[in-house]
Symmetry: C2
Subunit: 522 residues, 2 copies
């Protein structure tokens, strides 16, 4: 490993960027990189370098790096591999300290490429340049609106730092994250890592004030000891979540032919994660789920979960994975049960999970959640079946009015006016009876309460409750699936899971991290 | 169990339906049930029964069942529990053979309800009435457009039959299925199952010509032996997929308080599933994934998988779960490798998974998939990173043009005209160079090939290939996630998975079923 001092602040907050190989040709790296930087809102200086053009994307094209008079904080290289070494020599002369090399055909393609990469890192090491890549998809930095990436992904700004040993996978996971409403602080696709180690970036993110949660996609480690030390320093302050590839023999084979990394024995790595308090994600989907969970929710004190469910089946589906995730169905104290007796129909189950048995009174949902969240017997709350999805009312309104109406016209034409009269009569009756109580819980919806059912009302309440009780509340958006769940999360400080099982999984990981923190503090 | 002959054909294809408790009040079961039937397109006769109304939803209201002159194939009951027994007596007199009882507060709420339910089933058994429920969310039947359910879910018509011991969960999973493009033939929410066993429905679906795939959500079995026998008869002809709830002690507790079922020892049930060739789904999400997989794809001959991936990281993520799912990364014969040598850049990995190393020539993707699918060494094909999602082009176009344009106006106003000139120049050059070959694979996109990138082209090709080779091809819609994946599946005979790991999972379950079939045929 090189001995020079890295200047990561210039990498993540460059005041000027030179793009060697800048191009007007659509689809070329040399065109996608600057377009994405402009599209991402980067406001520093951009210098295009291309000896065969006068102008690139509206900026004057320079014949070489030397021709640029000003200081360059970050070099982006998008030219064929065999030419990159010479450019790096020019960069050393110019005193550049950071380079993102997106060019491929280096060590990943055999002996010739390995030679080129060796020369590249020798030059960079001697000249004190940190190379991201080669064969990288680039980096992202929220603090300078820097989308220095080969794909048009403009992440939401937030607190999740992401280091990925696969650039492509990393960028696509950021795309998932964006749709899930997860905000990112930094991203690094480490590529071939010519003269870096992911630990370099891990250490930087550990100290980075805008990064509060760190996620990692790892194929192999160069220096396990150093990784462990760095992780141990960080995890007491920030959660670190890792997806380790190369689990079985077939996965290890794929890793080898992908980045040439030796995946190593997975059992060893898992032991290291446990020791360092790193939270393990088992799949790509889970890595994104956990990024959302840990960046939005407070860490619980223990593993006892209170569950509220509208629909008993969901409660069962959730409870079914409690054992596997190391969670405990909280035993509700008598005081909580008495509290719930006041709110729920007399035939409620009087135990956890709390099935609210079809109770559609919104105020009652909040009472149940408050009772669970405020109980000392509960560390984590999961709420299911009550978040409806952004378009639920509109969709349902259309379904329950338009479709029957159309079919009345098609199949019962002569009854149409009477149908409309009936609907009107029913609605008027519902309004006039809105204050009646309904002891058997089987009666219609109170129209005056409909606005309480908006998701925004529910989410505000959850946020407020989390602030008061300092306990994580996980909502499950079972009506609408992931897409709708996501639309709510955007900067809202909540986590909505797409399924009950994924909610329980997230709760289990929170509890695991809580256990690590409390054992660490002893 | 009752000894009378069930008349399920009348249940699933009723020519006339009477709704007792029919109501105009929005949100009431008595209003939602007929509205959903009308909305679903049911064209048989509807009779509303409500002594306190003259007219319900445009139909004349009858004071009682007796007042209806015509024959009733199906009775729907939506009145308080204590009144249901009397109605059932009237139904016996009227010669009705099937009833869907949505009323709750029966055996699920204690001794009083259990008494009511006992009386109900005695009457029904003596009178030869099959009761779906009580405490059910209803049934669906594609052959008669019958959405006899308590929620406005109008499933796509298709070949998946679904029996669920939780109505709420079942209906919401159908909602997921609908968004995933899965077509259903029948649905039964069995509720308290007063005088039925889920095996009754399972046997019916086993013989049902429009049902090709059966999915089950099971909390507990009344008669394990009978279930096993029925399943063993069906699975050689139709795949049966089951999600069994009540796995650990905490899940069993939740089952008990939900439907009062004894979940039983899960290990026993799993043994039974293995013996009967039932495919196990471990989560609600997987039940839906597998319904999609088995209803869309042919059963493979073995477990050897050929993987094509655009983006090496996805290949690793997939390979990583091969061991767990009992799959084998197919060893590519020399002939296939030579075939691929002609298509892929010279530095390709020359092994499976086939990373197409950033090759964006659409025709090449098809060549690779053809080579994999036609090889005798491959039983299943997984294709990743190549299905873009319905709005991909529009979104990408907006991202790569509009956002940079806006930011040029905001931050580099004076360069705007030059920027536009550059873009134009680049595009014209790309068009003029479209026929140039690009040996290093780093060059721009060929604009004339853009239309080949439409998902519809890809899907047609996959379908054609599956028809020719009779092997399942699973596509992963990693760019867009589940929502977009779904939009493609609608009646298209393909299965798109939301993540690489979920694709591998589906492939593993296909291979498991294939193994069962081949051992069964021996």
């Amino acid at each position: 490993m090189p001995s020079f001092e890295r200047e990561f602040d210039k990498l993540f907050n460059p005041r000027s960027i030179a793009i060697v190989g800048a191009s007007n040709l659509p689809g070329k790296w040399g065109s996608m990189m600057p377009l994405n930087m402009i599209g991402g809102g980067y406001r520093g200086k951009l210098f295009m370098v291309n000896p065969r053009e006068k102008m690139v994307l509206g900026f004057p094209a320079h014949a070489s790096l030397k021709e640029i008079d000003e200081e360059i904080d970050l070099l982006v290289v998008a030219i064929p591999a065999r030419k990159v070494g010479d450019i790096m020599e020019e960069a050393v002369e110019k005193g550049i300290k950071n380079a993102v090399v997106v060019s491929s055909n280096f060590a990943e393609v055999g002996e010739e490429g390995t030679q080129l990469e060796r020369r590249l890192s020798e030059i960079a090491n001697a000249g004190g340049i940190t190379i991201v890549g080669p064969n990288t998809m680039g980096i992202y930095s929220a603090s300078s609106d820097l989308c220095c990436m080969g794909a048009p992904v403009y992440p939401l700004k937030g607190s999740v730092g992401f280091i990925s040993q696969s650039g492509n996978l990393g960028i696509q996971l950021m795309g998932w994250g964006q749709r899930r409403g997860i905000g990112f602080s930094r991203f690094v696709g480490s590529g071939n890592a010519a003269n870096t180690d992911i630990v370099d970036f891990l250490e930087y993110l550990g100290d980075d004030p805008i990064t509060k949660t760190i996620i990692l996609y790892i194929e192999g480690l160069k220096d396990g000891r150093r990784f462990l030390d760095a992780a141990c320093r960080i995890t007491p302050n920030k959660p670190v979540i890792a997806l380790k590839a190369g689990k079985g023999s077939q996965g290890q084979g794929a890793v080898l032919s992908h980045t040439g990394s030796l995946a190593g024995e997975f059992a060893l790595f898992r032991g290291m994660m446990e020791q360092a308090g790193i939270v393990e994600a088992e799949t790509t989907e889970e890595l994104v789920d956990l990024a959302a969970t840990f960046s939005a929710l407070p860490v619980p004190k223990g593993n006892r979960v209170g569950v509220m469910t509208l629909g008993g089946g969901w409660g069962v589906a959730a409870a079914d994975v409690f054992d596997r995730e190391g969670l405990e169905m909280a035993t509700l104290p008598e005081s909580v049960i008495e509290e719930l007796d006041k709110t729920l129909p007399k035939f409620w189950s009087r135990r956890n999970p709390v099935d609210i048995v079809g109770n559609v009174n919104r105020a009652n949902h909040f009472k149940v959640l408050n009772a669970l969240a405020s109980s000392d017997a509960v560390d984590i709350v999961i709420s299911m079946g009550t978040l409806l999805g952004r378009n639920f009312w509109i969709e349902n309104m259309l379904k329950t009015t338009i479709r029957p109406l159309i079919n009345m016209i098609r199949f019962h034409t002569t009854r149409l006016p009477l149908f409309q009269l009936s609907i009107l009569k029913g609605f008027r009756e519902a309004v006039s009876r809105r204050s009646e109580s309904n002891p058997e819980g089987s009666g219609g919806i109170n129209p005056s309460e409909a606005l309480q059912w908006r998701d925004s009302v529910f989410i505000s309440h959850m946020r407020e409750l989390m602030r008061e009780e300092k306990k994580p509340i996980i909502t499950v958006a079972v009506n609408e699936g992931e897409r709708s769940a996501s639309s709510h999360m955007r900067n809202s400080g909540i986590f909505t899971a797409a399924t009950p099982e994924r909610a329980v999984r997230a709760a289990g990981k929170l509890a695991t991290y809580a256990r690590f923190l409390s054992s660490h503090r002893k």
